[in-house]
């Protein structure tokens, strides 16, 4: 392995850019909570894993920040970094959009996958990047998710997917739709191999991603207050849904209706995942 550093040379740089973007606040000292308007000092907010101390609002995390908060220090090793987005439909202005988001996020695409350790347990992990075109699922996103699952099967490791998505990558048309089938079929292979697959749904997880691999975990966890549902916000508004309960399409709604196992606040995420891995990994070891 050539890259022994934290994220490999290339990704380390990318991570730095991503952090700078996220941190680009007016005076760099404080952030206003979008939910309760409380003024939060950035140092405190950071210590609190970017959760509002007053109202428990969970700020969105960049993919690399999520990894820092989740896996064992220095254990992450990214793969599938050579994949680059094409414009198979020749969709108007797609290249410009991609360039814009590469600049903004410091990433090449909206999904990051790799090997890591969590509480010493070797895992494969994937994290969606909402800051890249709303974590929409195109060919590269789907391919990376699928490769993460195939790697888990090949190396007999558990898989943790931190899901997020605004929906399909419309610019890739019908090919983006097919990523739903591709990733879901890959989950079947994980099941056949008896390997644990844990989904963590973060804000927002909707549409094509929610209707595919994000709903197929052995255990499905959600962060508090996340938007989770089939119809994206715009589609739901267009459909003029009546009698919408106030908590419609939230983590709490999904828990109430039996669609997820639990809601886990960010500070308890690592310990919860550890317990689940200890249960599932032992099982997997026996099967194999």
């Amino acid at each position: 392995m050539a890259n022994t550093g934290w994220f490999g040379r290339k990704s380390k740089n990318a991570r730095k850019i991503a952090r700078q973007t996220v941190d680009a606040l007016p005076d760099g000292l404080w952030t206003k909570c979008p939910k309760c308007n409380e003024i939060l000092f950035n140092k405190e907010l950071e210590k609190n894993l970017r959760v509002c101390g007053k109202c428990n609002y969970h700020f969105k995390l960049s993919a690399y920040d999520r990894l820092v908060f989740t896996v064992d220090d220095g254990s992450f090793e990214e793969f599938a970094t050579e994949l680059r987005t094409a414009n198979p439909l020749n969709f108007p202005k797609y290249e410009a959009k991609l360039a814009e988001y590469r600049e903004k996020s410091g990433l090449d695409e909206s999904m990051v996958v790799g090997r890591a350790k969590l509480a010493e347990i070797p895992i494969v992990i994937g994290v969606a990047e909402f800051g890249f075109l709303g974590a929409s699922m195109g060919s590269v996103y789907g391919e990376k998710v699928t490769r993460a699952m195939e790697t888990a099967v090949a190396e007999k490791k558990p898989l943790i997917m931190f899901c997020s998505s605004g929906g399909a990558r419309m610019h890739e048309g019908i090919l983006s739709l097919m990523q739903m089938a591709k990733t879901s079929a890959a989950v079947a292979r994980m099941n056949q191999a008896g390997l644990p697959y844990i989904c963590v749904l973060t804000d927002p997880t909707t549409a094509g991603v929610h209707a595919s691999f994000a709903s197929l975990g052995d255990v499905i966890i959600a962060e508090p207050g996340a938007l989770i549902g089939f119809a994206g916000a715009r589609v739901a508004t267009q459909a003029g849904l009546i009698n919408r309960p106030p908590n419609f399409q939230t983590s709490e709604f999904q828990l109430e209706h039996g669609m997820i196992d639990m809601i886990v606040p960010r500070r308890e995420m690592k310990s919860t995942l550890t317990k689940l891995l200890q249960f599932g990994y032992r099982e997997a070891a026996n099967v194999i």
């Binding site: 419309m170 079947a188 459909a239 669609m259």
Partner: protein, 329 residues
């Protein structure tokens, strides 16, 4: 045939006007006992030329209108015409019987098979009864229950796709529409019997794909297969729903595009003017194509069928690979 203007597309008008003219002359000659056959032949030739001209120049948006044509044959129309005998089965055994997702058994030549498909309604009352062809979670679970039945009895499966989208009501979310579709995608990839998918009209996004994972995917010439309706894409990406014609173009939703993108295996030609102008002919072409694919697949074992289907979808998507020197494994 009396048609309300609502049932006629703009580009169909000149053809229907000519046809009305021909019918009127025929009626008059019958009444008067005169011979105007030369005139009729000329008009018919003119009509055929006009049709060929109009239908060889259809835009993706025109095809969208044809795919949604109020007279377009629906799933049950094809079921009645393609099967020598069929029977409908009902219910998901969990919640209810979805009227937008139908299914059952059928005999097509030498093949005993199981069929499922979305069903749209013809008139207002029927459309509401069928929920406009938008299936709820119970519909996808009903389809999966029936597909498992086919697997148990080693019978091939035919999925007939025609839906604008899956239902996204509060009830559908409460009962897990995402989970129902996701599970179908996963389970369909492992079925150890032949699965043929035929897209008949609207292949609307996840709602279509929820019964769309087949060893072979075929598509009627004027059907569309899209990740989002052109109107939705225009509203979101172009911030103007009126730019739907442009969006239909950009999304590459026609059968020809789907074929070129490797998403489908074959386009089944429709009669000139669209499937609704000759339902019997369309059903016959569809039936022949289905039987041909079934015969081809009959040499594969159960595990081979599942593997072929997996590989087919595994390879979908287009991306580039960059040679990296900084990060190597």
């Amino acid at each position: 045939m009396s048609s309300s203007p609502l049932n006629i597309l703009d580009f169909e008008k000149p053809i229907l006007e000519l046809e009305a003219q021909i019918a009127e002359i025929k009626r008059l000659t019958a009444e008067e006992g005169t011979d105007r056959s030369a005139e009729i032949t000329a008009l018919e030739e003119h009509r055929d030329r006009l049709m060929a001209q109009i239908f060889s120049n259809l835009s993706p948006w025109d095809r969208t209108l044809l795919a949604r044509h109020p007279k377009r044959p629906y799933t049950l129309d094809y079921v009645r015409l393609m099967f020598d005998d069929y029977m409908e089965l009902h219910g998901d055994r969990l919640f209810s019987d979805d009227k937008a997702m139908i299914g059952g058994i059928g005999v097509m030549g030498n093949h005993q098979m199981l069929w499922v498909g979305q069903q749209k309604g013809r008139d207002l009352k029927d459309r509401q009864f069928r929920n406009f062809g938008s299936a709820k979670p119970e519909g996808y679970r009903k389809a999966m229950r029936l597909m498992k039945l086919a697997e148990k009895f080693h019978r091939p499966i035919l999925c007939l796709v025609d839906t604008p989208a899956a239902d996204c009501s509060v009830g559908a979310e409460e009962r897990g529409i995402s989970e129902a579709i996701a599970r179908n995608l996963m389970e369909m990839s492992t079925l150890e019997v032949p699965v043929i998918v035929a897209i008949l009209g609207e292949g609307g996004s996840g709602g279509a794909l929820g019964i769309g994972v087949g060893n072979r995917v075929i598509m009627l010439e004027n059907a569309i297969y899209s990740v989002i309706p052109p109107e939705g894409c225009a509203a979101i990406l172009f911030r103007d729903p009126n730019r739907k014609i442009e969006a239909a173009e950009a999304l590459k939703i026609t059968s020809q595009h789907a074929l070129e993108l490797g998403v489908i295996d074959e386009v089944v030609p429709e009669p000139l003017g669209g499937a609704h102008r000759n339902v019997e002919q369309t059903a016959k072409a569809l039936r022949e194509t289905i039987i041909r694919h079934l015969n081809e697949l009959s040499t594969l074992t159960g595990p081979e069928l599942a593997a072929q289907r997996y590989d087919k979808f595994r390879n979908m998507g287009t991306f580039l690979c960059e040679e990296l020197t900084a990060v190597t494994e």
